[in-house]
């Protein structure tokens, strides 16, 4: 038992160091850094590169990593990205840090290439093999790594307390955190304070990363889990209180550590328990704080004025309105005429993904909600479809097959069922969205997605040792879609129908209501809009589209595998969709095509070491959102309309006399 307590305390200390960095950067700039986990990853990789590849000893490696590299990285990221985000709309703030989350690991792997074998047993701040000491008073063995972690946490706590409580810098920081504007007019250089807090915050992330590697290895998924736990701890501290955050992180670590003593050694309960702890803690705290203060959780209560977006020129009317969509549709359907069989397959994947990506268009673009669970919903659609189509059983429960005498369902009804099953799951998540605004919803959906991944997707019936479930192409309404070309046409038609429905909704009353809700939920509600209903509808529709797209994508690649729909891939998807325009159906199409085609092109024409380049580009694109949050398609369309008609709002700044 004391051994498990110690393990929990060690884990909790690492979480705490990381969470303190997250809260520090948030309080000084009001940006929740979703890339916090990957900055920890970047510093850890740099340390390992110095320590292992360059043969430096532990102390200088750590000193250079934490006192030079990490602060420099923090300063750089602040200067090029976070500085601009403080006054950006919440969606932009979120998507830009998501872009960094995608780009940074790819950049790190390009700069510091490792083979996987070397990363398996990384060294932390203690020499390997770690020496073990036995404390007979407590009857517990402690190794040098654990001592390093505990010592690191103590140094951080003492250092931060001294810095914040007993120095002029600390006073300036606390003042800037409480009220940036008052601090500024009192003569405090808030820019310096913010830059400093990003440097310290990144160093804390880096320390946590280095301490974590001997325990969990140097894989970026583990750092996503570190991020989620840090976020959960930060929620315990309401994103502002350092002591509460620290305590929250310790508690999460202790629960995870001690639980090992009580759980069975194998099984879903064991694998699912660890990731579910931060989720449950986060959810309980969010609900508890709401009950206490009745405050709505908004991230930017004290942020400055939100920058106004320049309005779009009015869309063309009449037959002109059909020209743009017409060209896109003709180009899409003519693909089989000018590509060979292999590339039709690649482009088919792109179109299937484009259908899936419309889920982001609906939930984030139209609904204005920041959800990280859409890839998981797509996975549910794909896996349920595959399970029904192959053996008609889900969770060991035999589903009756009313459609045919064979074992599996026909693919058509199976696809529909998959998409429909995603809807109640989506509505479950949506119930969170009724209570949580903006970034808190993103936190809760991220935690929920990881939970589903560990509890459901990891089940053998879906995972099949990582291979997933095989799927063929469908026969629908008596038409055989087995050859590549006809299946491509089917996908393109589905995309067009779903995109048309999305556009119709946007241009009708539903779109007006959602636009009203995105701007001001209070004003919408007092105008008579049922905000609850609108949010649930947006989530239900987006879940159905996610499920449908997930099923089609699985069919296109021939198998439904949980690996195709994991949280990290979902992040990349969101980043690339946002780059091209999260409100644009054409943006979704371009994003889908690029996601499928670019890696294929890179694989064919560039050396293998460039494999991370597409991901890097996708991430950098989303980071670029800090300049134009509505994406590339919007910019292009806007420029065309201005150039052609000049009837854009620029010409309207003087109200026309009427």
């Amino acid at each position: 038992m004391p051994g498990y307590v110690l393990a929990g305390l060690v884990l909790g200390s690492i979480y705490a160091v990381s969470a303190l960095g997250l809260v520090l950067t948030y309080s000084s700039s009001r940006v929740v850094n979703f890339a916090h986990g990957v900055t920890a990853y970047a510093v850890a990789v740099f340390y390992h590169w110095l320590n292992h590849e360059q043969g430096w000893s532990i102390l200088p490696s750590a000193a250079v990593s934490l006192l030079v590299f990490a602060p420099a990285l923090g300063l750089f990221l602040w200067a090029v990205l976070f500085r601009r985000l403080t006054h950006a709309p919440p969606t932009t703030r979120f998507l830009a840090t998501v872009g960094l989350w995608v780009a940074l690991p790819a950049a790190v792997r390009l700069v510091f290439p490792f083979s996987q074998g070397e990363i398996n047993a990384p060294q932390g701040l203690a020499k390997l093999p770690a020496s073990v000491f036995h404390l007979s008073a407590l009857d517990v063995s402690i190794n040098a790594n654990q001592i390093a972690v505990l010592a690191g946490a103590v140094v951080v706590v003492v250092g931060m307390t001294a810095l914040l409580r007993a120095t002029p810098i600390g006073l300036a920081t606390r003042a800037s955190v409480d009220s940036p504007r008052s601090a500024e007019v009192s003569g405090i250089n808030t820019t310096l304070v913010t830059a400093g807090s990003w440097m310290v915050g990144t160093a804390l992330a880096g320390l946590a990363g280095i301490l974590l590697t001997p325990i969990l290895g140097l894989a970026d998924l583990e750092f996503t889990l570190l991020l989620v736990v840090s976020l959960a701890a930060a929620v315990v501290g309401r994103l502002t209180s350092l002591p509460l955050t620290f305590a929250g992180a310790l508690v999460i670590g202790l629960i995870q550590g001690i639980s090992v003593d009580f759980l069975p050694a194998h099984g879903v309960l064991t694998t699912g328990f660890r990731p579910s702890v931060p989720f449950v803690v986060m959810l309980l705290c969010l609900l508890l704080y709401q009950g206490l203060g009745r405050e709505r959780f908004e991230v930017d209560l004290r942020a400055g004025p939100v920058e106004r977006e320049a309005p779009a020129p009015p869309p063309p009317r009449g037959w002109r309105a059909a020209v743009g969509p017409g060209i896109v549709a003709v180009a899409l359907f003519s693909v089989p005429l000018w590509l060979n069989g292999f590339w039709i397959g690649v482009v088919s994947q792109g179109v299937a993904l484009a259908v899936l990506f419309l889920t982001f268009t609906i939930v984030t673009g139209e609904g204005g909600m920041l959800s990280l669970v859409q890839a998981t919903l797509a996975g549910i659609g794909g896996l349920i479809t595959a399970a029904l189509a192959t053996h008609s059983s889900i969770f060991g429960w035999q589903v009756p097959n009313p459609f045919s005498s064979s074992v599996g369902w026909p693919l058509g009804p199976a696809i529909l069922a998959g998409a429909l099953v995603a809807v109640p799951v989506g509505l479950l998540v949506a119930s969170l969205s009724l209570r949580l605004g903006d970034v808190y919803l993103a936190l809760a959906t991220l935690a929920f997605a990881l939970l589903v991944e560990q509890l459901v997707f990891a089940r053998h019936e879906f995972d099949q040792f990582g291979a997933g479930i095989q799927l063929g192409r469908p026969m629908l309404l008596g038409i055989d879609f087995n050859d590549r070309t006809s299946f491509f046409v089917l996908l393109a038609a589905v995309f067009c129908v779903v995109a048309l429905v999305a556009v119709n909704l946007r241009r009708a009353t539903t779109g007006l209501v959602l636009a009203a809700m995105r701007s001001s939920e209070q004003a919408a509600a007092t105008t008579g809009v049922s905000v609850v209903r609108a949010k649930l509808l947006a989530f239900a529709a987006s879940s159905f589209v996610a499920g449908l797209g997930g099923a089609l994508f699985a069919i296109t690649i021939g198998r439904a595998s949980p690996n195709s729909f994991n949280v990290l891939i979902g992040i990349v998807w969101l980043a690339i969709v946002a780059t091209w325009g999260v409100r644009s159906v054409v943006g979704a199409l371009v994003a889908g095509l690029l996601f499928a085609v670019v890696p294929q092109l890179v694989a064919e024409h560039l050396p293998a070491s460039w494999a991370d380049v597409p991901t890097l580009l996708f991430g950098l694109g989303a980071i670029g959102l800090a300049r134009e949050p509505r994406g590339i398609i919007f910019t292009l369309v806007n420029a065309t309309r201005r150039a052609r008609g000049g009837r854009g709002p620029l010409a309207l700044t003087q109200p026309p006399a009427r």
């Binding site: 241009r507 007006l512 509600a525 007092t526 105008t527 049922s530």
Partner: protein
Amino acid sequence: MTDPLLAADDVSVRFGGIVALDAVDLAVPERSIVGLVGPNGAGKTTLFAVLSGLQHPGRGRVRLSGIDVTRATPQRRARLGLARTFQRLELFTELTVRQHLVVARRVREGRDRSLLRDAAGLGRRPSPGEDAAVDSLLELLELRDVASLPVSMIPLGTGRIVELARALATEPRVVLLDEPTSGLDVHETRQVGAALRSARSERGVAFVLVEHDVELVLELCDDVTVLDFGRVIAHGPPPSIRADAAVQAAYLGTPTDGAVTR
């Protein structure tokens, strides 16, 4: 005595240790304009939040058209004929001025529930009478010139008038106005006053007015309630309020306080 259109009975709200409202009564008869005045922090905005359903009172009841709506959602109250404007503008930043009125009207008609029709592409046409109704409101509030502009491009004063127009577009029976003339110039203030009178006489709308322009309140209102530190300290027709000692004390301080800083 007939039942008032909108009434707050014995409403109390506490935020932690602060008593924001303490046993406040307010009655708004049909077709009346009721003034709500008081120094900053007196609880006016909190009372509006309670009336419109954005804040639940710790104690007391809110009635609208004789129905107890104390626990009702804001949108239910809106559908029963309650509309409001906000002190800090809450406009729909992505919509044009005209679209503000259109969405408010369509929600009133229940068109926000016609999802399938919208999905099929049939939801873009205006409802019968919608264009005429929206145009007449734009005319009434002199918003025609800016009707096609997105609200992010109009000045603050015009934004306040758009909020009023949006509230009237829901065809309300009573509208809560939170400082409708702050930031407006003399002409715009007069225009708002005229619009309120005309909405009352032509559409039978009642108003509750939170306002710092005391002259405007005394001129427009049939009845004035004065709040200070969450309590009603005076209530009556404008002339009696003007003469009330307690009101003068609240605004100017009493000699016994030894200070006139408030």
